[in-house]
């Protein structure tokens, strides 16, 4: 199949970026989306041009390294799917595909389609953990956790930290990301001891880092490759409220 690709090119963080159009011939519907980009890069290298920088690693939807805004959608048009899981069978010969990096103040572009997501680490540093030193843990079955809570905690914990929620949000809010951690740990008895400071501190840190506020549009939930529910934001809000009372 032949494609027209409009790709954001930006030499480094300081450079001014722009879209560059590539005519790609000989791609195949059997490729994954990222393999299509690999193929583009092979053709660029052979022509002596600079290949497009993009991030990827596990290529099976679990590491959260890949990103990309594809035709105006985070991780492309498929729901519950990261860019690495997107297949070219979803496109047809002659299609034009626009590919951009995540756009958010807190995620500056490093090069081409790669952004810096270290702000997520900073948010977690503010409290996204249980302060349990190695060696001090009680026997694992000494604290039963109702299965329903454990399952919900798992759903929240399935966040892969990709940043799609932020990039999909018109406010560039990190609320779903924060909620996934706060909700996971609030649902587990082991996490209750620090629940108050966790909610408060993580939200304060996100504000400080330039993430926007949540206005409950739900775009994050739609684009989340793991389908993390807005209900976790509701739980975060309850935890936050409890912490500030």
């Amino acid at each position: 199949m032949n494609l027209t690709l409009k790709i954001w090119r930006q030499k480094n963080a300081k450079a001014k970026g722009s879209f560059v159009t590539y005519k790609l011939e000989g791609a195949s519907q059997e490729m994954s989306f990222l393999e299509m980009l690999d193929y583009l890069n092979t053709t660029l290298i052979k022509k002596g041009e600079d290949p497009v920088a993009f991030e990827h690693d596990c290529r099976e939807g679990i590491c959260g390294t890949c990103s990309l805004y594809i035709n105006g959608r985070a991780h492309g048009q498929d729901s519950m799917s990261a860019t690495c899981e997107l297949r070219m069978s979803r496109y047809k010969d002659g299609d034009t595909i626009v590919i951009e990096p995540w756009r958010a103040k807190a995620f500056p572009v490093i090069k081409d389609l790669i952004v810096d997501r270290l702000a997520f680490e900073k948010i977690l540093e503010a409290g996204g953990f249980i302060s349990a030193n190695a060696g001090a843990a009680p026997e694992a079955n000494s604290i039963p956790v109702p299965r329903e809570h454990a399952d919900k905690a798992f759903d929240a914990a399935s966040c892969i930290g990709c940043g799609a929620c932020v990039s999909a949000c018109k406010n560039a809010s990190a609320q779903l990301f924060i909620a996934s951690k706060v909700s996971q740990l609030a649902l587990l008895p082991q996490g209750r001891a620090e629940a108050k400071s966790r909610a408060r501190n993580m939200i304060a840190k996100a504000d400080e880092l330039g993430f926007g506020s949540c206005t409950n549009t739900g775009a994050c939930e739609v684009e989340c490759p793991k389908g993390i529910s807005l209900a976790h934001i509701a739980r975060l809000n309850r935890e936050f409220l409890k912490a500030t009372l």
Binding site: M36, K46, D57, S131, A140, V145
Partner: protein, 638 residues
Amino acid sequence: MNKLNTKIPDGPVAEKWTKHKNKIRLVNAANKTKLDIIVVGTGLAGASAASSLGELGYNVKAFCFQDSPRRAHSVAAQGGINAAKNYKNDGDSIDRLFYDIMKGGDFRAREAFVYRSAEVSNFVIDQLTAAGVPFAREYSGYLDNRSFGGVQVSRTFYAKGATGQQCLLGAYSGLIRQMSLGKVTLYSRRDMLDVVIIDGKARGIITRNLVTGEIERHSAHAVVLATGGYGTIYYLSTLAVGSNASAAWAAHKKGAFFSNPSFVQIHPTSLPQLNDYQAKLTLMSESLRNDGRIWVPKQKGEKRHPNEIPEEERDYYLERMYPAYGNLAPRDISSRAAKERCDAGYGVGKTGMSVYLDFKDSIAKKGKKVIESKYGNLFELYEKITGENPYEEPMRIYPAGHYTMGGLWVDYNLMTSIDGLYSIGESNFSDHGANRLGAGSLMQCGSDGYFVLPVTIGDYLADDIKTGKIPTNHAAFEEAEKHARDKIIKLLSVNGKQTVTSFHKRLGKIMWDYCGMVRNEEGLKKALKLLSELKEEFWKDVKVPGTMDELNQELEKAVKVADFFELARLMCQDALNRKESCGAHFRDESQTPNGEAQRIDEEYSYIATWEYTGEDKDHNLHKEPLEFECVKPKARSY
């Protein structure tokens, strides 16, 4: 051989670890703050080690090539993590877990190490649970276990199909906490290029900042490598595309011995290669074999759609060859059988390199609903990737490189043959012998990182409390930095015509064909010749665009592939040396009449440990005899 003192304590295997802990030297809390430790790699082993060392008071610098530690490849482990809790009251114990790992490794691992991992495994589960890992639970609220890897007990803890992700995120949260407390400094987007040795001791590393391209020097009193396995040497594997051997290989060239490099686990149920651009192989859970029947057409080069091939023209070869186990034959046996059929011309799919995994009979017998409830998500995944509906037509599968049991040699303290350089997790060779038991890799990573290394490293660092900061202006740093820079300049200056990836693919094919599932003398010798020719071509004709002073992903790849050429040679040398078959290492020349691996204990009951002697030169072999006090090596029978 003095360098290879295993430091395994005397006494009964069950008492060794306790005895050792009681005897080794410790560093007191105040002195720990004077000591710096570098941890390279932030998977389950690296993250748990870095956080535990930080908790103890050491100053830790953690390095990863990813943008965040949370993305390290432990994240992709699916099945679970073993521990000898005996929560199911089914007769499990530390001894039984120990025995299962020894047997799974086909009696090519050290008893003392395996026992220790089994012994510590229970604490790993406690620790991860305390850290908030949402392991699966029963309605009682207590933790659930499942049976995994063909053992007789249920001892595998799991978090749906994402156990690795959840365990890693648990360890990562501990790492994050130590970062917030200032005890761990994170250096992400860094490739380790070399280890720096001063007066025979590992005192730092050279890294490349992958964003700016800057070559950096980092010093410490000890260096820990938790850099994972090297299965990506095959190009296509189930591993993350970025996984590589370069840090371990740099250490090897500086004097860290490498053990059993040819021991690679091949996973039997991966999706097959669909096209030439494919970058990785996706693992499909092995559980599919419980209900799927594996077959190929009886006629070579069959072109008909599988649904049009009548029953009598299908060869259910596993059921035919191994009637007792049928489609559930062990991983290595079913992998080799698939390869044999495809090589003989019976393979299916466009490339002819896959076999059918058919659910037709199970669906007819149990109903679509039952199959859907068991494998629904896997069927969806399959359809998403291949565009074929496994409810309507058979899946196609093929084996893929998955886990490397080989790695850096370590002693009982997990120290390599370089003083002050440690290796933990998949990067060392220590726990899995010639094959790894399912759900054993997370267990080893957690054991090494949380509970073994943080204790044993004190024994070495006790000598360093008065050393003071290690300066980075020492000549050894200078030299290592220059060496790293020269290699990069050399790669950039070739300016040939072929891409790095094209070389990696060809290298991978040589390794897959001759040093993969089945090895023999002729093939391995041929591989050595082909490797040396391809390496020469690489250094003459590789094209690495761009410069070293910028984010340059092609350059990153080139550095890794250059190292793979050298490691590939050693893997073949190791496979050539070991004329027996054992575990995942299958030599054509050494098989039982029904095609199973034939160990030769009289000659090969040893760990093959290799010493680097210079580029393109044969390595020196050191044999470490395996001593069995508790288990009796038995032949496997299926």
